[in-house]
């Protein structure tokens, strides 16, 4: 992998604060006593075995899932049932999904301009200009007029990233962005994400790409059975894991 992301300023301003948060699916306690503070400019990688609640955790941050106990503050806005507050948070938080979730009935350009036009009330011309700028940033401006179904998986995921960026988010959430991709396409998506990290974006990324974690993250969080087991700098995390569960997990994924 290329050299680590450097010189990215992490401020002492808090971007996300999660305090004693618990979540249940019916009877099942999926997230247990989560406490996490994310500072502006941080790149956090969350890893852990499947079913450990890592996706659920980041989906709570833009309220795709609701939590039952504790507090989540995003950019100082508390997440409750208040729909207006939720919309405020969602406008500032971008999300990239495992299965891209592009809108198949709209062209790439329309996918990108939809939210700026309808949520930000941006004039269509400006939204399209901004969209083209982001398509260039993810290196596929020539695909603007195509439909998502005509693109490869890697291209679709890059469009999905560009779609989130069009809303000028302060925070980006990535939910296993490369898990559904063929090996040769993972690289092109990771490159875009590294570029994004370089620009100082606050990022929370659920991924199994440990190379990416080493290169980009300033903090790695390991989750198991709905709890945060361990968090540390990538160097310490990989070279000197503290808990047995982390050691076991790392031994299974790093051959």
């Amino acid at each position: 992998m290329a050299e680590a992301v450097k010189n990215v300023h992490v401020s002492d301003e808090i971007a996300i604060q999660i305090i004693a948060m618990n979540k249940w699916y019916g009877e099942f306690h999926v997230l247990r006593d989560i406490n996490l503070t994310v500072y502006r400019g941080e790149r956090i990688v969350i890893c852990g075995p499947s079913g450990s609640g890592k996706s659920t955790l980041i989906r709570c941050i833009n309220r795709l899932e609701e939590h039952q106990k504790g507090d989540i503050l995003v950019d100082g806005i508390p997440l409750t049932n208040d729909l207006k507050k939720i919309d405020e948070v969602r406008r500032e938080v971008g999300m990239v999904f495992q299965h891209f979730n592009l809108f198949p009935h709209l062209t790439v350009l329309e996918n990108l301009t939809l939210a700026p036009i309808w949520v930000r009330k941006m004039p269509k011309k400006d939204a399209e200009a901004a969209a083209m700028k982001y398509l260039e940033r993810v290196k596929i401006p020539e695909q603007a007029k195509k439909y998502p179904g005509q693109l490869s998986g890697g291209q679709q995921q890059r469009v999905a990233i560009a779609r989130s960026l069009c809303m000028n988010p302060k925070i980006m959430l990535f939910d296993e962005p490369t898990s559904a991709l063929d090996p040769e396409m993972i690289k092109e998506v990771l490159e875009v994400m590294v570029d994004l990290a370089q620009s100082g974006m606050t990022m929370l990324c659920v991924t199994h790409e440990m190379g990416f974690a080493r290169q980009v993250a300033n903090r790695v969080i390991f989750m198991d059975q709905g709890q945060i087991i361990e968090q540390n700098s990538p160097k310490e995390f990989f070279e000197n894991p503290k808990s047995e569960r982390t050691k076991l997990f790392l031994s299974q994924i790093l051959h």
């Binding site: 207006k84 979730n101 809108f103 009935h105 939809l114 949520v119 179904g149 779609r163």
Partner: protein, 500 residues
């Protein structure tokens, strides 16, 4: 592969030649061999089926064309041995099939409705034509108004209390506007007094039905005391609601207020236009008939059932228990009863529940019955489409900050409706044919008028009935087949490059 024997090394030195396809793959001859006579058994079936088709086809052609009677003045020409279809009967009664008992000197009004409708509908159906928005607005707002006035003659009685009622409804909507602009919790907070007043107004209005005092009547002229009280209280509630919107420094509040003003202006504008006297002779709906009634019932049903069905389908999938329960009960109640029962209820039982003096037109009642009935079916068709949309689509749209209605109207419904186009058109076609059931409440639709005219003593012959039914069937078939073909065309058009 370790167990497989090692093959000898091979290197191609020359490209294999490109050969023309064998004769069985190309041309008419190839098609016939491949599709009709691939094996001896299939060949025999093909010959038998072909012979059967020729036999049936010849029978129909012989009856409808070769042995048919083409001219004549009365039954005598048709009541001959070996005669086929009795076309002079259809020709002489055709105007009645189209217009029913609509006064002959007023039929130009129906013609204008047909022509304007076709002229506005055809460009709407052609995807390449521009100005779809204005075209749709004309078809959905101006055209129904034009048709209503032309067909009935307009000049509706709009009493002062009708205007008062319209005012009450608009004021009630205004009371609720803060909910739309500020969200539910803040909206209720901001207009608490307004809701109190409006609630009291509704109570006054309901109480007036129970107490009903004639003394009040004389004091207030034509107004009922209930509506005057309701108008005062609900009006105050509405004013407070508008005050909240004007006071708030909020763009969506201004937009909501503007839409409310437009809606109010449209409602009063429509009432004034309907009240106007255009000098047209009044034609009661009991004089309408034939294709006119069939089209009025079918088109109203089609136009009303799609939006209602979409709302009901969304309601049924709503997380709000009241909305969900209401939708489920509504859909299941209408789907659980036969259309005939609905029509009977609408024409016989509904008047029993309405206050005295309120009289709905018979055609109007059938229209409402058909529209609500088919909207319940439409709701289930649309729900099928909604269920086919992956959860990820909702999540991606929500994560971008789109509100519920925008998620639905921009992302989910366009995809869901596209999937269920065959089901929607199926419902439309079935609705179109179900309009024939309105005959049981005494309306003369196309089929009913064909039956009635064929029993006319002037034309009674062994072939009159079959000719009448054959022609009616052909007319229904043309409309239904048209819808079917158009839906295929749209499906294919929407399908380009959309695969997921």
């Amino acid at each position: 592969m370790s167990n497989a024997p090692e093959t000898s090394a091979y290197l191609r030195t020359e490209d294999a030649p490109l050969l023309p396809a064998p004769i069985s793959m190309v041309g008419i001859q190839g098609w016939i061999i491949a599709n009709l006579f691939p094996t001896v058994g299939n060949g025999i079936v093909s010959i038998l089926a072909g012979a059967f088709l020729v036999w049936i086809g010849w029978g129909v052609l012989d009856w409808a064309l070769f042995s048919a009677v083409w001219s004549g003045e009365n039954r005598e020409v048709c009541a001959v041995e070996g005669a086929g279809a009795c076309w002079p009967f259809v020709y002489s009664r055709f105007a009645q099939w189209i217009y029913g008992f609509y006064p002959i000197d007023q039929r130009w009004r129906v013609n204008i409705c047909f022509l304007v409708g076709a002229a506005a509908l055809i460009p709407m159906l052609m995807p390449s034509m521009p100005h779809k928005k204005w075209n749709a607005l004309f078809l959905l707002i101006a055209y129904p108004l034009i048709t209503l006035i032309l067909l009935t003659g307009g000049h509706f009685t709009m009493s002062a209390s009708a205007f008062l009622n319209a005012f009450i409804i608009l004021a009630l909507v205004a009371t609720f506007l803060p909910l739309v602009a500020f969200g539910i919790e803040e909206g209720i907070q901001s207009n608490r007094i307004g809701f109190g007043l409006a609630g009291f107004g509704i109570l006054v209005w309901l109480a007036s039905f129970v107490i009903g005092s004639s003394i009040w009547h004389s004091a207030l002229g034509s107004f009922s005391p209930g509506s005057v009280g309701a108008a005062i209280f609900i009006g105050a509630g509405g004013l407070l609601g508008i005050g909240q919107l004007r006071g708030a420094d909020n763009a969506s509040g201004q937009a909501v207020l503007r839409n409310w003003l437009i809606a109010g202006a449209v409602v009063f504008g429509l009432m004034l236009i309907l009240k106007m006297d255009f000098g047209l002779q009044e034609v009661e709906t009991s004089q309408w008939g034939g294709l006119l009634v069939t089209l009025v019932v079918a088109i109203t049903g089609i136009v009303a059932s799609l939006p209602l069905g979409i709302l009901l389908a969304l309601g049924r999938r709503s997380k709000m228990p009241i909305v969900k329960t209401f939708s489920v009960i509504f859909i299941e109640a209408w789907r659980g009863v036969p259309l005939i029962t609905v029509l009977f209820m609408a024409s016989v039982m509904l008047p029993l529940f309405l206050p005295e003096g309120v009289n709905f037109d018979k055609l109007m009642r059938a229209l409402i019955g058909v529209a609500l009935f088919s909207s319940a079916y439409m709701a289930e068709v649309v729900r099928g489409g909604l269920q086919a949309i992956p959860k990820g689509q909702y999540e991606a749209a929500q994560a971008l900050g789109l509100s519920y209605w925008k998620v639905m109207s921009l992302i989910v419904l366009p995809q869901a409706l596209k999937i269920v186009i065959p089901g929607i058109v199926n419902s439309f076609i079935s609705l179109f044919k179900d309009t024939t059931l309105v005959s049981i409440v005494g309306l003369f639709d196309l089929l009913q008028i064909a039956t009635t005219t064929s029993n006319d003593a002037k034309w009674a012959s062994p072939q009159t009935g079959s000719t009448a039914y054959f022609s009616a069937a052909l007319m229904f078939w043309i409309f239904c087949f048209g819808m079917s073909r158009y839906s295929l065309f749209i499906e294919r058009r929407l399908n380009t490059g959309h695969k997921r």
